[in-house]
Amino acid sequence: MPEESVGLNMESQDLGTRVKQSFREQLRKQVGAAAEARRAELAAEAERRRQEAEERARARREKWERFVGRVKNIGSFLRDAATVPGVTVGILAEEGGRRIEEAGSQVDAWGLEMRKKINTTLEEAKNQGRDVVHQVGESLDKFGRGVERTVNDMMEKASRARDRLSTRFNDLRDQANEKLDDMREAAILAGLRPFAWLGERVADIFKLPAAIQEWQSKRALERAERLREEAAAAERRAAELEQRRKEILAKGGSFRQVRQYVQTLETRREQKAA
């Protein structure tokens, strides 16, 4: 190697070493101390938040399942109450009633107790020569309407909450993009072009409300389909009961026989459900 070249190389190495040393110190300070520590801190925090969110999501799911179970039981109870001879539960003929009814296949303890109470009340009133069928029907309708209103209110509140979340997310996205825009000059000076990648870093975070909406729409469609099936089944069953009632009465059967027939159907359904 020529002498001149060796000298230049040494000088360059010396300068390089000093620069590298200085750079290394700064890099250690900035990347090592700040970025690495921040990353570790962020990772620990993210993990803690993930666990907390998982726990909250589980609790919320359980709460939701209990609530849906409750509403289903009420729907089931109303459907059963409609089979009490002579009692017309108008709510069942309406879309709202069908919505409440959903696909409930079991009646909880409260529903069973209420049905017994209604049957006993009707029986006792009949023995006393009083006709209370219409009053019972009205009370059941009032109850059904109350439940329907409550469920609709809750859906409305959930929908409004989702809209607010969406608005908030849009605001946050705009704020983040503004801050990223402020970095544009520094990025260009550092030779980074195009600049779009910075915006993409936060874009994914803000896709969440749209995902929630999509999920809710999908669930609503599934629910509507189930309700249509349930409504068709309920109509078929009502027609079958009406036909059977007419047949028994045409053959000279008594009101009591019609009632016994309905009770037999109920027993069969309970056994099937059990």
């Binding site: 190389n9 360059s12 190495q13 390089g16 620069v19 590298k20 200085s22 750079f23 890099l27 900035q30 990347v31 970025a35 690495e36 990353r39 962020l42 909250r56 709460k63 939701w64 209990r66 609530f67 409750r70 009420i74 209420m114 109470k117 209604i118 009340t121 006792e124 009133a125 006393q128 209370v132 019972v136 009205e138 009370s139 009032k142 109850f143 109350g146 409550t150 209110d153 809750m154 509140k157 909450a161 607010r164 979340l165 908030r168 997310f169 946050l172 996205r173 983040a176 970095m183 520094a186 990025a187 000076l189 550092a190 980074l192 990648w197 870093r201 936060v202 975070i205 803000f206 969440l208």
Partner: protein, 108 residues
């Protein structure tokens, strides 16, 4: 640590691909020349600053998003609890109505 080792260290970090690409480009040139110029050093440091700032914005956005989601969840919880209470109340009223009908009260 020489420039090659420094390059390897930087590539181990989870910096953005764009930032890493630029840093690699600068370091490759420096390695081939056998030294790092003052301008290159400043550019590398400003790239690191940029990355840290972008991280901060990302972190802040995440935190705000989590707060917004927590608030959304709290609203849903509250609505559900209210609905459950209202349904309980409606059930109690039905029971009272049936009791009144059974007793022969006119007002239901």
């Amino acid at each position: 640590m020489n420039l090659q080792q420094l390059k390897e260290e930087i590539n181990k970090t989870d910096f953005s691909l764009e930032v890493k690409a630029k840093m690699n480009e600068i370091l490759d040139q420096a390695i081939s020349r056998g030294g790092l110029s003052e301008t290159e050093k400043k550019t590398l440091l400003s790239l690191i600053d940029l990355e840290i700032k972008a991280n901060d914005i990302e972190k802040e956005a995440c935190e705000e998003a989590i707060l917004a989601l927590e608030s959304f969840n709290a609203e849903i919880d509250k609505a559900m609890e209210m609905a459950a209470d209202e349904i309980d109340q409606a059930g109690q009223e039905l029971e009272e109505d049936i009791d009144k009908i059974g007793k022969g009260d006119d007002q239901v």
